[in-house]
Assembly symmetry: C2
Homo-oligomer: 144 residues x 2
DNA sequence: AATCATTTGACATGTTTGATGTCATTATGA
DNA sequence: TCATAATGACATCAAACATGTCAAATGATT
């Protein structure tokens, strides 16, 4: 193992994230979304509906802050509350049609951008890198 | 190209960064450094000395904020000002012995951690992933 | 040399992205 | 039933920046 490569790889995650989020922000400009409310909608798109604490766990941020973001999407008519049979106060948050169309459109445009960005990249390399990164995240989190 | 893999890879840069910085923070606990002042010292370690605007350019953040961080390291005796023949006000910032020992020690411990973290990873895979990430950063930044 | 734009440090203020703490209400489980 | 946990709502705080402005210093142009 060339450990300097791995060291560098880990530290390059910040520039990659920053560059990616800058590009995502540009695509969000006329939608009224932020990168973080976009993340909330993406979770709801993937699993149809979730409670605020569920979303917080997925995003690994505190529920209190997710609540603020969710309340924004509710105010904008992008999500709506659904009754939760398991808890009267803790409503289930689901996309409205408006919200679904919006986030689907955003994700679609992003995927097109990624496709043009990576048209000439080796598929196996990408898969390798993805696996590696997931391994690293797992080990860093578990303190191994 | 499986574009979903690439899409996922890009989005995983945030969890990777967060996990990495959490671990780095733990290693910094008894040093009085933050992740960002650590970054300043690492630049000075790599190139011996630099002005505040130089550091800002490397970190891709505003010089005004770098100034605040550098002033902290000056107050802590980790760096010192050196006369700049090219500009009377814009001093060159360099590590003191104390600062050099500290950042070298921090980086050394981090590299040991990375070594144990990645002992069983394939060296070629890591190199591939690093190259891929650098390519992606370049393309995202240039808007390609 | 005089002038004008640029660079820089210093300082004040604003913004985003959260964390933390607390309260009242509402489940849930022993 | 009674203690405990979960949840939404709200307030406060902090880190990591960005932005704007000023004055001193420098560099470039004429």
């Amino acid at each position: 193992m060339n450990q300097d490569d791995l060291y560098q790889l880990i530290w390059m995650s910040r520039p990659l994230m920053q560059a990616a989020e800058t590009v995502v922000e540009q695509g969000l400009e006329d939608t009224g979304l932020t990168v973080r409310t976009r993340a909330v909608l993406e979770i709801l798109l993937a699993q149809d509906a979730a409670t605020v604490p569920d979303i917080a766990q997925k995003l690994e941020i505190k529920r209190q802050y997710v609540q603020v973001m969710v309340n924004e999407t509710l105010a904008d008519g992008l999500t709506r509350k659904r009754e939760n049979p398991r808890h009267k106060r803790s409503t289930i948050i689901a996309l409205t049609d408006k919200g679904r169309v919006l986030i689907q459109d955003v994700v679609h445009r992003e995927k097109q951008l990624v496709a043009s960005l990576g048209h000439d990249l080796n598929s196996a390399d990408v898969k390798t890198a993805l696996g590696l990164i997931n391994t690293l995240i797992g080990r860093l989190k578990s303190g191994i």
